[in-house]
Amino acid sequence: MALDKPYKDIPGTTIFDADQARKGYYLNQFCMSLMKAENRERFKANERAYLDEWPMTEEQKQAVLARDLNRCIELGGNIYFLAKIGATDGRSFQYMAASMTGMTQEEYAKMMLEGGRSPKGNRYIGEDK
């Protein structure tokens, strides 16, 4: 019997549940490996070769190479783990957050200064704006 997952109808949001974690185990553990300086250096020297050391899917590797965080999340990545790729790239967290929203970093930072994204219209798919 399928378990109840009421969070599936929240727009632009992927809940990192046990299924996602199962799919993303190696993707996330690859990210975790970037906590070590020597691993960051090896990754930066040859990203593809470093990724090939991990039993990740080809789709996951392509998403990492493209720095497509939304795709990484869809394939089981979790943002706290994925943030380590951004740190390796020398990117701020706001840069990463903006990259997932289709906004520039400046536009995103301005939205936050103005009080953030309104929940109105963002609670469930189809809610009036």
């Binding site: 046990a18 380590k84 995103y108 939205m111 936050m112 953030g116 994204r117």
Partner: protein
Amino acid sequence: MATITASVYTSHVPAIGAALDLGKTNEPYWQPVFAGYEPSKAWFAQNTPDVIFLVYNDHATAFSLDLIPTFAIGTGPSYPPADEGWGARPVPVVQGHPELAAHIAQSVIQDDFDLTIVNRMDVDHGLTVPLSLLCGQPQAWPCRVIPFAVNVVQYPVPSGRRCFNLGRAIRKAVESYDEPLKVQIWGTGGMSHQLQGPRAGLINREWDNAFLDRLIADPEGLASMPHIEYVREAGSEGIELVMWLIARGAMSDRPPKVVHRFYHVPASNTAVGHLILENQ
């Protein structure tokens, strides 16, 4: 007998720690955040406990996906600040209280809460940013700290109800400890924020303030709020707020004294909320 004297609730945004460490507290962006904690620092200096029981979550630092404990209590003698990918924060090593922690573990597990026992771990911004906000930048932290890590990264996280009842079990455990220690319990994380996906940047000022109101006046009712409401209204990372219910559950059943309340948007991607409640 040990007693719980007060509880502190605060966001633990990593950028706040970075702003402190890099000396940016007077910049216009950060000044309002740190101003909101000035009364708290003065209060803490006057009311320094013997031990802080500090409820927080690890952010893929000490715990990877290899091991995901729902509730983990630190029973070790000390905990170094973690290198989260850009070097460890320049803050003191956290000194634990192994005797009280072991006593709490013994009592709480016998009350049916299955805690994971941790004797060695690094602690990340989830634990050190709240300490910095209340204690400033001392050479050594002014009291002992028992780290209590809650899984709020992989769903399902523990329910609000379970967190509130766990708080009650922690209160009972503290009050059965023979030494007359003053203990504060801190609940950290939140408030509204979402760090992932096209909905990143969500902030809900109205909901956050209603949460603070209910945490003060109706914590038991608040504890029955389902996860889905946190996620829908306060963002996928807003779920961290369940940890505040552990601290609130550890407080007396009598209404608390509200010492300080503060709310500010934004700190990086997050709404900052803060409360100090004293038992009376």
